[in-house]
Every structure is written in structure tokens, then in C-alpha cells.
Symmetry: C2
Subunit: 413 residues, 2 copies
């Protein structure tokens, strides 16, 4: 039993947040393409960004802003153009966008964060952007999270959102989030973006530390095709509007809040992996017994990202040898005689040796998982133990299908 | 102009080497499955092996043998069973195999090296192996390299071999090689194996250093699907039978020999990438201007291994944004404003900005490359510059096609 429950809504579930999403004409298709997330008071903000050397202007802009001051009152998100590889012009466009939002909301430009997703190498359509900002500001509402979750999508097939609630000191505290992503898919459509809101009162350094850890256990542990985007960003805001006592040090309240934040991030991250291009199922890889959490995460992510494991699962083939092979090449030391592999509840390998197993049952498990309910029984569970070390970690991916190749080969930029 | 020429043959081209390949009944199909490479005198031996934590018994056996003494007179190679994840039994089978070879050739068991490729988790078929060894010894000949090149294959579509010749001190010196590999493809068929022979006289430490460097610039720079095998091995033998003066220190002769060894390894490595599962063309990525050779190699390999770049090339799509994105995530620092990307002779990106280019010409280049001659015009050349650093490096891969997914999903183990 977790000390929180799932509730309706997403980024506007926590107190004091509004959001909106509109079609501002940035996308040629006329689909929703401009989202705004707004906090009535300035929120503590933490951000995690792509480690790529090739980055969008908005990523550099936000990183610089947050380094100066961990505060934010509004996040403007556009889809359609990634504003990456756009040089000085891209930087100027980012600054202008922040200025327009600040004017429309009557706040400081330094309190505005930005995210973009879409075609790399294209400037933001600044005309529609400038005209759209007053409209998206006017559309802000306490139920606008769903519209925002639609306006940030590119090739995603579904919206991705969640909200959780716990109690601190007898009062409700909520965390909500939305995300997008389905593969790097650039230069047409790009990027993983996630926006998380919270109404707890928390010290900036604690919030930032929680966000970093939650990100490393969720978004940093998913893979669709191994290609990091130029625009990847996670933003987490907390605005104190729950009116609960401020969390200024580590203790039981901080632990619950971090647990809930991690749960929100994991849900949003899993939803991205499940919506991976061409995917027919989610793959969850749990690794235990590693020397460290980092080592376990690395093994789990290597297995989840292996093209051979992914295509075997698409073929509903309980191919334990590929799982063992991927574990072995993760760059983490272990004794191969300790290796155990389980698929669902079927043991395939123990102490480094293959086990006889019911191949039909294993195939049936894979077929059933692939036909199962979204983010519940549509998940293929692979459990791997590499020894008796204290480190455990989980990663998520999806299978590799003909449609992945089709989407990425047949699309003409 | 290189100071060497290509000649007929492969591992038996250098003086004093014999080889053979037979069908010994290890493969259910009845295809050739047992190869032997033999030097009339004990050769200096260098080996590079998989870094996987999950390794075949023969890998551990050879690594241990070569650590004790860098000498070898015979290499026995079986296809059909990988002898990986086979525990103590696998180790005993490896030792017995070496003993049988030593007895049949009347040499020391410690002078025998072993390589296996095939189904992971399966013991070597020791009955056929024991019965086959006298036959493969009897079949040894100075023209047996072609038979050996066939007997080491698994799902490969073509044999892979080369021989080069130079002159040292007025006398011919030759290096020949064979290789196999087409994807990890385990647990059915596995592994990259390469065997290189040379008749130069070289000090062990110089030969080992050359081999390590040649391996890092060839086999370590190819990728088909990112999955390191449990059995990967490169063996390089040099037996002094050219009767040229011994190379005991670095100088012009050592440089030529290392250049020729590297050329042999690059040819064999490229042949593996070109024969990658489902591939329709070879991709060569040349990176310059990096802080170091290692950094350039890393960027090149990341681009060559990117699923998005690979599927774009399968779709004949000059998708420069994916190339830039992959370069950015290689973990090597550079200024994105220095990034230049060229496809064939068409400049796509300069100083971090996209260039206007003739899309039809770029598409035509990709279509022509994919229809071109083996290892010559069937190569898509991507050149990337990341600054003005001294580091350059090259990597090879292949495109990602429907057939890759088909081969790896539809095969039932």
C-alpha cells in the first residue's frame, strides 16, 4: 500500500495551478500546438534537460534561468518546431516568447520557462506564437490540464497524464503531471517533455534533489530507440498552495513526497515507452543483486534497449539468451554463474545455467501481455538477478516491430 | 598509395600456414562446421575478446592461455554450438577439445586456441567433435583457407576473407584473414570471430600492441545491432616464416606492418557490417575535429549505431537532423556551432546550421549507394566534423530494414 491515491486530472490537480492548450497555427495540420502551465504564485522549479551537445535554444534558456534562480510562474510549450540547430535566431525567438508571456501575465520574464518540440532546424513560427500567447493566457483554467496535455503532442498516439494525492499534516498534497514522446523521431517530430506540478511547500534544494532522483529512476530509465533528443526536458514545479507545513529537511514527509513524485514520473515515463513508435507492448526489466543502484539501472536499461531482446519480444519468443547477453554487455561487473532470468513467473535461467521451461507457456505469457490492458497487463516483465549485491533498478522499453522501421524509414523529411 | 597490394587467398596466404574446414556433424544442417588453422612453427599470438560478463568457455580458456604465454600453433573453430552459459561442463569440453587437437597434431595443448559460435547454452556436440578432429587435421593444406572461411559461418550470407602483401628488406611479408558475423543473433547463431595470420617475425609485445590498436580501429568500430556477443574473438598469429628480419622495435617496418594489419582487420570488419542482418548497404561514418581519436571513434560509432539514422538510410532519406542528434549524444564534448555534416559530397549542415541542399540529389546518392558494388560503391559515406581538434575516427554499420526485424522476431528458438 502506497501512502497516496490516484485522483482525476493532471497538472491542474494541485492547488493554485491553471493550464490551457490551443491551436495557434504553429503546426501546418491545425492541431493543438500551444500550451501554458501557470501557477498563481511563483513556484519552486527544478529542471532536468537533455545531455546532448546539440540542444534546442529553449533548453539553454531554461538551464541558464534556473541556474540563476529556481523559480517559475509559467511554462510555455509549443509543438511543431523544435527550435534546435537554429543558432542566434533561435535564442532571440526564445527570449521574445518569454517576453510575450511575461507581458500577457504581468510577471517577470525570468519567471517564464520554455519548451519546444517538433522539426529540428526550424525556427518557431513567431507570428502565430505572438498572436497565440494572449489567447492561451485567456484560456487558462483550473481544468485546462487536459487541453495542455493534447497541445504538447507530436506523433504520440495518446495523451499521457496522472495525478496523485497524499496527506501531510492532515491536509491534502497533490502532484500532477503530463508528458509527451514516442521516439526521437526528429527532424520531423521530436522529444520527450514532461511537466509535473505540486502544491507542497518545499525548500528549493530538497525539491531539486527529489526531482533529480525521481528523474533518474523514471525518464532516464526508459528507451524506445536509444536516441536522445535535442529537446528532452522535465520540469517540476511546487507552489506551496496546499498550505501544509514547509518541508525544509529530510524526514517522513519528504520521503512520502519524493515517493509520490517518483510515482508520477514513473507513470509518465512508462506511458512514453508504451507509446514508443510501432510498439505492441511495454517491457519492464527489474534487476536486483547488483553492486549498486546505478549498476542495476544500467543493466536494466541495456536489456530494455537491446534490439535483439526487443525484436524477440515482438516475435513472442522467450529468448533468454539475448537477455543474458545484454546483461553481460552493460559494463557492470558480475559473476556470470550468479545470473538468473525470469520472464513473468517462468524461470528461464538460474545460477548462469539455462533451465528447462515450458516454451508454450512462455509464448502464451508474451502473447497475453501484448494483448493486455494499457500500462497494466500489457507489460512483459523480465526479472534479472546478478548476485547478492544491494543494488536494484528498473527500466522500461517497448518491443521492436516492423512499424518502427516503417515509421522511421518511410517518412520523408 | 599504400605500401602493400591485395593478393589471392586468406589465412593460408602467409608462409607456413595451413588450414582446413569440414562438415563434422556439429550442425544439424550438415553444413561445414569445423575449421582448423595451423602454423608449421609456433606463432606469436595476440587475442582480443568480448568484454561481456557472460562469456563462452573458449573465451575464458584462450584468455587464460594467452596470459600465460603468447604462443599458438593451432586454432580450432566450431560453428553450431557457442559453448556459452554451459558452466563447468563447457570448460571441460573446451579442455578436451584442445587435448584432442594437440594429440592429433603432436603439439602441446597449451599451443591450441579455441573459438566457438552457435547456440548459446548448448554444449559442443563432443562426439562429432572428437571424431572430426583427426579428419580436419588430415585435411590441412596450404589452400585450405577457403574451406576454413566457410566452416566458421552461421547465418552469414557470404564468406569474408582477404590477403595483403608488402615487402620488408626486399622479401615478401603477407597478412591474411577470415571472419564471420552478421548480428549477435543468439541464442541460435552468434558471434563475431576473426582470424588473422602473418608470416613476419615480430616481438610479442609489438605484435600484441599492433593487434590491440588494429582491433580498436576495425572490429571495435562496427555495429549491426548494438549487441555484443558472448563469444566475440579476434586472433592474430605471426610465425616469422617470411624469414624477414625480426621487428623488435617501433620504426618504418613496424609502421608498415601495423598499417597492413589494420587494413586487413578493417576489410574483415566492414565485411561483417555489410553482411549485417537485413542490411541493404554499408554505412561508413568518418568523424574529424574531435578532442581525441577515442572521442571521434565514439561519435562515429554512435552515429553508425543509431536506429534512427539506420532506418532513415534504409528509407533513402538524407535526414541530417538524426545524424546531428546522434553526434550530440555520444558523450563527447563539442560546440554545436562547429558541427558540419556531409553525405557523400553533399553538404547538409555547416557550423551548426542546416544548409539548403538538393534533396533529389541526396536521395539519388543513397539509392545508388544501396545498389552499388560490394564494399565499394555500396557504401553510404557520412562525414562529420565537430571542431578543429586533432582526433579523427571511422565506424561502420548498416541500415535497419524490415528484414532485420523479420530475422530476429520470426525466428523461433
Amino acid at each position: 500500500m502506497t501512502p497516496w491515491i490516484e485522483i482525476e486530472g493532471n497538472v491542474t490537480a494541485p492547488k493554485g495551478f491553471k493550464a490551457a492548450g490551443i491551436a495557434a497555427g504553429l503546426k501546418p495540420s491545425g492541431s493543438p500546438d500551444l500550451a501554458l502551465i501557470y501557477s498563481e504564485v511563483e513556484a519552486i522549479a527544478a529542471g532536468i534537460f537533455t545531455k546532448s551537445q546539440v540542444r534546442a535554444a529553449c533548453v539553454d534558456y531554461c538551464r541558464q534561468n534556473l541556474a540563476e534562480r529556481p523559480g517559475c510562474q509559467a511554462i510555455l510549450v509549443n509543438s511543431g518546431q523544435a527550435n534546435a540547430a537554429t543558432g542566434q535566431q533561435g535564442w532571440d525567438d526564445a527570449q521574445a516568447s518569454a517576453q510575450w508571456v511575461a507581458s500577457a501575465l504581468n510577471i517577470e520574464p525570468s519567471s517564464v520557462l520554455l519548451a519546444s518540440t517538433g522539426v529540428i532546424g526550424q525556427r518557431i513560427a513567431v507570428g502565430p506564437m505572438e498572436a497565440g500567447i494572449p489567447k492561451v493566457v485567456a484560456a487558462l483554467s483550473e481544468t485546462g490540464g487536459d487541453d495542455a496535455s493534447k497541445a504538447i503532442l507530436t506523433t504520440d498516439l495518446i495523451t499521457k497524464s496522472i495525478a496523485l494525492e497524499t496527506e501531510i499534516n492532515g491536509r491534502p498534497v497533490r502532484i500532477g503531471g503530463i508528458s509527451k514522446g514516442s521516439g526521437m523521431i526528429h527532424p520531423n517530430m521530436a522529444t520527450m517533455l514532461a511537466f509535473v506540478t505540486c502544491d507542497a511547500a518545499v525548500s528549493p534544494h530538497i525539491w531539486q534533489e527529489m526531482t533529480a532522483r525521481a528523474g533518474s529512476r523514471s525518464f532516464n530509465q526508459i528507451t524506445v530507440d536509444g536516441d536522445t533528443s535535442t529537446n528532452d526536458s522535465l520540469f517540476a514545479l511546487t507552489n506551496g498552495q496546499s498550505r501544509t507545513p514547509a518541508i525544509t529537511q529530510w524526514g517522513p514527509e519528504a520521503e512520502v513526497l519524493e515517493g509520490m513524485l517518483t510515482a508520477v514520473c514513473i507513470h509518465l515515463a512508462k506511458a512514453i515507452a508504451r507509446d514508443g513508435e510501432g510498439a505492441t507492448c511495454l517491457i519492464e526489466v527489474q534487476v536486483t543483486g547488483a553492486p549498486s543502484e546505478e549498476g542495476a539501472q544500467s543493466i536494466a536499461k541495456t536489456i530494455a534497449g537491446s534490439s535483439l531482446v526487443k525484436s524477440a519480444i515482438f516475435g513472442r519468443d522467450p529468448n533468454w539468451g539475448r537477455i543474458a547477453g545484454a546483461a553481460g554487455r552493460a559494463g557492470v561487473a558480475f559473476d556470470q554463474n550468479d545470473l538468473c532470468v525470469t520472464l513473468g513467473d517462468i524461470a528461464l535461467m538460474k545460477d548462469g545455467q539455462p533451465l528447462p521451461f515450458d516454451r508454450d507457456a512462455a509464448n502464451a505469457y508474451l502473447c497475453q501481455a501484448a494483448a493486455g490492458d494499457y500500462l497494466k497487463t500489457d507489460t512483459v516483465l523480465i526479472q534479472v538477478s546478478v548476485g547478492d549485491g544491494p543494488g536494484s533498478g528498473t527500466a522500461w522499453g517497448c518491443d521492436l516491430s516492423y512499424d518502427y522501421v516503417k515509421i522511421n524509414a518511410e517518412y520523408t523529411t
